[in-house]
């Protein structure tokens, strides 16, 4: 596919992005939520997080970065276990597909919530 260094560049950059957006996620579940953590899980709070365009965009970006970072990480770990060409091809394909599936599945959820839950 791409050069390994390009894949690692994106791994590092998505990692940094996840740190920032993850901090935002952590904040939105603790001190930015009315009533702290219990209040963050209230239906109204969650609903507002998904319907506000900025929060929803942040969630979507978080999901995109995570999909790449997590499955590239799994790919690296799995590739180190076995070096046969069959295994390598299978791991690369599976992790790519899994990342895509997770991203699309999550995007569907976010869009569903964003549109008020009515599909």
């Amino acid at each position: 596919m791409m050069r390994e260094s390009t894949l690692m560049w994106i791994q590092y950059i998505t990692g940094l992005g996840i740190l920032v957006l993850g901090a935002l996620h952590f904040a939105s579940l603790t001190f930015l939520a009315p009533g702290g953590y219990p209040g963050a899980l209230e239906y109204t709070t969650v609903f507002s997080r998904y319907t506000d365009p900025l929060w929803a965009a942040a969630l979507e970006a978080f999901l995109a970065l995570l999909s790449y970072h997590v499955f590239n990480g799994f790919r690296i770990m799995l590739l180190e276990l076995n070096q046969g060409s069959g295994w390598s091809k299978a791991v690369n394909a599976t992790m790519f597909l899994a990342a895509l599936v997770v991203f699309l599945y999550g995007t569907r959820t976010i869009i569903t919530f964003y549109l008020g839950g009515v599909v």
């Binding site: 390994e4 260094s5 894949l7 690692m8 690296i76 590739l79 180190e80 070096q83």
Partner: protein, 296 residues
């Protein structure tokens, strides 16, 4: 004073313990494996008398000479410069000739072959995968005009030398390769030694082969399978610090790839380098060698 009255020189060696007679007997638990007879390695115990300065290698030679001549062990210089006696002693990668048995503070000394390399016999491993990976990174100066002018040295400043001098101390013992967590599962991984040497030649200003070497190390089993566990540097008996070199190599690939690939190598000493005149180079040559570090 008459010369016949001179007293003989008297001096006392402070501590003769363990110098003339062995201090104790230590059990050497050595991994044995005969490829024609055994299906997998097993441990065999030998009792070895240990003096104050006995090294693990001395113990193994004692076993071979006195107890069990069938023991296969690889060694050469017995002073820590050849790298032949690399093995795993009490769980840690060490050179056997540089490991004092009493310093291990254990009555049982477990000797195992190097990890992650094919085992030939007993504690002798096949170093060919290790050396072939070294060859793959082209560990020599690559430049277009290497054949043309063979009669002059290349211009390289002491600062440029210091960039890679540390890495030239590598004795190819294989301890770093054995300690690396990635080689434990990934047999295509180039290994810390090869990658450190790739950096040593890439950053050498006399070299112009960055493009070829980057292609080799920027691969699915190249420099990016290093995760900076630092076990290689912790194991290295000469302080080469391959972990340092590999992180710097990653930096070159991420940030300086274009510049390194286009870099013109150091010219010969009678040629002018771009931007620097010969007079300026001559002016900056230090009058004296830098003084050696003060003894501690």
């Amino acid at each position: 004073m008459a010369t016949s009255e001179q007293k003989p020189l008297e001096f006392k060696i402070p501590n003769l313990e363990g110098v003339e007679k062995p201090i104790k007997n230590v059990v050497f638990r050595v991994s044995r494996f005969d490829p024609d007879k055994d299906s997998k390695p097993y441990y065999k115990d030998y009792e070895v008398p240990v003096y104050r300065f006995t090294t693990v290698l001395d113990g193994l030679i004692y076993i071979k000479y006195n107890l069990d001549p069938t023991l296969a062990v690889r060694y050469s210089c017995r002073m820590g410069v050849c790298g032949s006696c690399a093995m795993v002693v009490n769980g840690r990668e060490r050179l056997a000739c540089k490991t004092n048995v009493l310093s291990l503070n254990s009555s049982i000394v477990t000797v195992r072959p190097l990890n992650n390399l094919p085992l030939i016999r007993d504690i002798v491993t096949d170093l060919r995968p290790f050396l072939e990976k070294h060859r793959k990174v082209m560990p020599y100066i690559i430049r277009d005009d290497i054949e043309a002018h063979q009669d002059r040295e290349f211009l390289q400043s002491p600062a440029e030398l210091d960039e890679y001098m540390m890495l030239t101390d590598c004795i190819k013992c294989g301890l770093c390769y054995s300690a690396c967590p990635t080689t434990a599962t990934d047999e295509l991984f180039l290994g810390p030694q090869a990658l450190a040497q790739a950096y040593r030649y890439t950053v050498d200003t006399r070299d112009a082969g960055a493009k070829q070497r980057f292609e080799v190390v920027d691969s699915p089993h190249g420099v990016w399978r290093c995760h900076f566990a630092g076990a290689c540097s912790a194991a290295c008996p000469k302080g080469v610090d391959p972990a340092f070199a590999i992180q710097q190599l990653k930096k070159l690939i991420l940030y300086r790839r274009g510049a390194m690939e286009k870099r013109k190598p150091a010219p010969e000493s009678d040629k002018v380098r771009e931007g620097i005149s010969v007079e300026e180079v001559v002016k900056n040559i230090p009058k004296e060698w830098p003084s050696p570090p003060a003894p501690k």
